[in-house]
């Protein structure tokens, strides 16, 4: 259980930071006037899902003394 929660937590953190990073790289790579192949709406939904996943998983593995 703890291992599963840890995995979900790590994926959730990745889901919080990786999509914005990909959005940034694609947007800059697309040049002026170009758009990222990953839409900002998609980034926002992935971040929201990751947020929910993070708060669902964190209590099972984060150390609280």
């Amino acid at each position: 259980m703890k291992m599963a929660a840890t995995s979900v937590g790590i994926l959730a953190l990745a889901g919080t930071i990786v999509p914005p990073a990909v959005f940034m790289l694609h947007s800059i790579g697309a040049g002026e006037g170009g758009t990222s192949s990953l839409s900002l709406d998609t980034v926002k939904w992935i971040m929201l899902a990751s947020t929910i996943a993070w708060f669902a998983a964190a209590p099972f593995w984060m150390k609280v003394e």
Binding site: I17, P20, M24, H26, M47, W54, E65
Partner: protein, 466 residues
């Protein structure tokens, strides 16, 4: 912030239940890891969303933000390490108990009152920031959001938002803030990443990673803050905690003074990365939407626009988890001031003051000034503690004079505290001196004045109490 909430709650519990009036024993000492997490959490709070954009309003340039913040935060870390932690690990007493030994119990109550009131205004700013995250949940225009120029409430919907958020925070503080502390603990790493995510999205939308160019203000932007101003702001925005010695209460549990280095996690993650990330949010609105940097945009709208609901949740949690213990501590300060006042009544009184302060955006929108004033009022007490700890024996003045004489009110401390603060407030109000320049000279003047007054009063030898 969140790690702090848990750790500080635990440390304060230890303090209040066991070690409030004696040295922390060896068995209660903690290793450095507890302090690294604590500082990282404490300094990634809701108000960081406000401070970054305020730098843009004040025309801070790229050199100031990148180098000035680095330098100022480094100086803050050094102050924590070589003053606060050094004294904390030798004395191992709370600020309040140490101050009581020097100034007497009655004067500590006065300090508590000042501390409690300032805590209320700080928590009020956090309520304001959290309330800006409520707006995007409703159709546009339902809640008129405050701008940098707002001093009064923007309308009934805004007032209701602040009251709802403030009342919820107060109720939780009333019940004890264990749940919120736990949520804050879990939120800490995620929250920092949301700050970074805001910056990444903003850079993508602006189509560049040239941070230097982005942070350079337009030529017509008024430069209200200089490089030195940024350095001093970063150094003294937590003046009450380091040079003011409030963190004696926490760092007295540190095994070694090197735990003071842990403040670097808070300074460089929260007061460097998070401030620059938050500043980028407003820079985007200025460049892409033509927002006037002097008017600004509320944090809720900017964060929602950049990263959506995750950002709004972050703004609310960041404000909530920091404001909650602040209301709780303000309540404790008022309880100490007013005999017979129950903990619940004291917390409600503090909560009411915080809500009143939160309704008026003036406090949050003038946060750069407010934290300077906060430090100016509280930091001088640290100057007295530094004198007592490092210099008293060498200068031939008594250490812990109030304890030695059995006095409840040391006039030397009161005069040494109030005179520099009075002068500083005059300089701030009439001469327009930037508030963050004042804590350091005020603390030094307070220490010097205390030495002079102690010398004068020590002419009559202080009898040592049996």
């Amino acid at each position: 912030m969140s790690d702090l909430l848990h750790d500080v709650e635990e440390l304060e519990h230890d303090a209040s239940s066991e070690y409030e009036r004696r040295r922390v024993p060896e068995k209660a000492l903690r290793g450095p890891s507890a302090f690294w997490g604590m500082y990282a959490g404490e300094h990634t709070a809701g108000t960081e969303f406000m401070i970054g954009p305020l730098f843009v309003k004040w025309g801070a340039d790229a050199f100031g933000l990148i180098v000035g913040l680095l330098l100022g935060n480094l100086l803050a870390v050094l102050t924590w390490r070589y003053l606060t932690a050094a004294i904390a690990c030798e004395q191992r007493l709370t600020l309040y108990y140490k101050l009581e030994k020097i100034a007497g119990g009655l004067l500590v109550k006065l300090y508590n009152l000042a501390n409690g009131l300032l805590f209320c205004f700080l928590a009020g700013s956090m309520i304001t920031v959290s309330a800006t995250a409520v707006g995007p949940f409703f159709p546009p225009g339902t809640i008129e959001m405050p701008t940098f120029q707002s001093t009064m409430p923007t309308g009934p919907a805004w007032v209701i938002s602040c009251i709802a958020i403030g009342a919820a925070m107060t109720l939780v503080a009333l019940k004890g803030y264990g749940v919120v502390a736990q949520v804050g603990h879990y939120a800490a790493p995620w929250m920092f990443l949301v700050f970074v995510a805001c910056a990444l999205v903003t850079l993508g939308r602006l189509g560049t990673t040239d941070l230097w160019a982005l942070l350079t203000p337009a030529a017509d932007t008024p430069r209200t803050i200089s490089f030195l101003g940024i350095v001093f702001f970063a150094w003294f925005c937590n003046a009450a905690m380091h040079i003011g010695m409030a963190d004696l209460s926490v760092l007295r549990f540190a095994r070694k003074p090197s735990a003071g280095w842990a403040s670097a996690s808070g300074m460089f993650l929260g007061h460097y990365v998070a401030w620059i990330c938050a500043a980028l949010l407003l820079i985007y609105w200025v460049r892409q939407h033509g927002v006037d940097p002097q008017v600004g945009k509320d944090p809720g709208t900017m964060v929602s626009d950049a990263v959506g609901w995750a950002g709004l949740i972050c703004v609310i949690i960041a404000g909530w988890t920091t404001a909650n213990p602040t209301i709780y501590r303000a309540g404790l300060a008022f309880q100490a001031m007013i005999p017979g006042l129950s903990r619940a009544a004291a917390t409600m009184l503090a909560g009411g003051l915080c809500i009143a302060a939160g309704i008026f955006p003036a406090f949050a929108m003038n946060l750069l000034d407010f934290v300077g004033i906060y430090g100016t009022i509280l930091a001088p007490i640290g100057g007295i503690i530094v004198v007592d700890h490092f210099l008293a024996d060498r200068l031939g003045i008594p250490r812990d004079p109030a304890e030695r004489s059995g006095s409840a009110f040391n006039w030397s401390v009161l005069i040494a505290w109030l005179v520099p603060v009075g002068v500083a407030m005059w300089l701030y109000k009439t001469q327009g001196v930037f508030a963050s320049y004042l804590p350091l000279p005020c603390a030094i003047a307070c220490g010097l004045l205390y030495v002079v007054l102690s010398k004068i009063t020590a002419r009559d030898a202080i009898p040592v109490r049996a």
